[in-house]
Amino acid sequence: MAEALVLKQLDLELRNIRKRYGSFIAVDDVSLKVQPGQFVCLLGPSGCGKTTTLRCVAGLEEPDQGGILIGGREVTGDPPWKRDIAMMFQDFALFPHMSVARQVGFGLEMLKKPKAEIAQRVAEVLASFEITQLAERRPGQLSGGQKQRVALARAMITEPRILLLDEPIGALDYSLRETVMLELKALQRRTGISFIWVTHDQNEAFSLGDLVVVMNHARIEQQGSPEEVLGRPRTAFVAGFIQGNNVFHGTAGRAQDGMLQVETPLGAFTVPLLDLATPAPGSPLSFSVRAERLIERADESVPNRIALRCVTVEYFGAFRRHVLDGAGGVVVKYDQFGALPQSIREGEQITLGWAAENGVLHRAPPA
């Protein structure tokens, strides 16, 4: 019982971080709470502010406003070498003039540990990453995968509270990425260190993260577990950024029995209101429907229907993606899973629909 009463300190807390470069706002009012041992992914397109946010946590950038707390302690004014963090860079940033052993031990040198202890710890860490044979090599002689391990060993040896990773597998060969991803996930679970992982690749983010933070234009659009974000995108951007969503824009109509009428150029649709406030009639809003939830050749029993023409059919093995044109230039994606034979031809006119409960209403856009 006493354990339940002990408040676990957050590993990281960001409070209303703001950072601008001249007139360009890189990070705008970003707040985040990271529980101990949590795997957090910052996801978003280039320029959305995810890397700047990461660098603020590292202390490599100084925010104009806001606070940063690591382990409950305010570190906003602290330089990087005083923070309990370690960082992995996209191109690894290995020191070219030091052997692998030397640079892996660098962090311990900075902590003024005795030489014997450093040597022993380095040997241990190299062994745990299976790179003992590389100890005397220089970075110039290493392959991409080997460099990545060295960079990781160098960061982990100091046993930081938080590990910051800036697109860590982007520089690796495609075939290597999957393996490394799983290894890093296992490492995080084993050590219990919080990972903050920045990426633009949603496959990485959703398979790795306990907490996914989607950013756009310097702001956090949505944060939650992968199920929450994938199942219920909160904004048109998040829905559009995630593969496999159809996003519809329209204006609010009547609300009745927890259902909202939405007027769009393609027609009127019924979307569940869920926990959102009833929007004023005529106000702009958006909702999304997952591509695999569409029903082929929908008849009158399906409440939401659109007339479309199939433009292309792409086969991906696990599923078949159809891209269809509708009125007003709208493009709709329909994914057919289950390795079924092709049922829609290119050029074919077809009506697709979806059950009312599969429509996900988005938050009203800020005024």
Binding site: R55, G59, L60, E61, P80
Partner: protein
């Protein structure tokens, strides 16, 4: 972030020593000379009145005006020769030559003389260009001429040959740098767009190397204008350019005239750099 914080006072203090050194060693002396050049009256002292008479007097002299033009003309000629020659050599070494062994060897052969004394190299032109010198002996033994050519040494030709030899590297170096930063893919892309090699060079390569050409030309310009050693060594005392005039006045204890011509020379040099900066500075060089 790096080992120096942007906008921190540490940056300012680090910059101070070099800045101070240049102010004391260059800026103050230049200002002083400008002041001296403006000293009017009879005596040469700090109490002299300020006037532009010295300049008017100097520029009124037709011989001196001709000398200025002659110096500029010499610079222009050397710039043109070293520019073309330097570009050809740069192009050959970076683009045409494929064997890395040869490239290193020729590069070294090109650059090493630069690390030896320019004074010595200038002096070495005397036995090279002389009536009994190596060049004449070579030409005679090849049967190209019957009697040695006197005009090589102690002449404008000799001076020019020496200056070309000394300064072509300056014209070539920046071009080498720019040429080697052009990705081969650009040339290939142009060729797939049906451009013949001459067009590829004229429309793609040459414009991209333009900053290098301009920098090289500026370096040659500055060096030729300020050069008086080569002129006296290889030209004997038969020719004089602006630099020599300055020394002449100095040795004649004509302080004001020395100052005037020095300032005029500097103005020419600064003008040249200013013109070049308009062309080059707009493009980012990354240096």
């Amino acid at each position: 972030m790096s080992t120096i914080r942007a906008g921190s006072p540490a940056a300012f203090w680090l910059a101070l020593p070099a800045g101070l050194w240049m102010v004391v060693a260059v800026v103050l002396p230049v200002l002083l000379i400008v002041w001296v050049s403006l000293w009017g009256g009879q005596s040469v002292s700090p109490d002299s009145p300020i006037t532009f008479d010295n300049y008017a007097h100097f520029l009124a002299n037709e011989n001196y005006r001709w000398l200025i033009l002659d110096t500029l003309g010499q610079a222009a000629m050397i710039m043109a020769i070293t520019g073309v020659l330097g570009y050809c050599i740069a192009y050959f070494l970076t683009v045409k030559l494929t064997s890395p062994g040869w490239r290193t060897a020729l590069f070294l052969a090109f650059v090493i003389p630069f690390w030896t004394s320019t004074l010595i190299r200038a002096i070495a032109f005397v036995p090279f260009l002389g009536v009994n010198g190596l060049l004449n002996q070579l030409l005679i033994s090849l049967g190209l001429i019957e009697r040695p050519i006197q005009a090589f040494l102690y002449s404008r030709l000799g001076i020019s040959m020496a200056q070309v030899s000394l300064y072509t590297l300056l014209a070539s170096g920046p071009v080498v740098y720019m040429l080697s930063s052009i990705p081969p893919a650009l040339r290939e892309a142009a060729m797939t767009l049906k451009a013949p090699p001459i067009i590829v060079f004229w429309r793609i390569i040459l414009p991209l190397t333009l900053p290098g050409i301009v920098i090289g030309q500026v370096l040659v310009f500055l060096n030729v204008l300020a050069d008086f050693i080569t002129v006296t060594t290889v030209g004997g005392n038969k020719l004089a350019f602006l630099g020599n005039l300055i020394l002449l006045f100095y040795e004649g204890s004509q302080i004001r005239s020395t100052a005037v011509v020095s300032v005029l020379l500097m103005i020419l040099m600064l003008a040249g750099v200013a013109v070049a900066l308009r062309v080059v500075d707009i493009r980012k060089l990354g240096s």
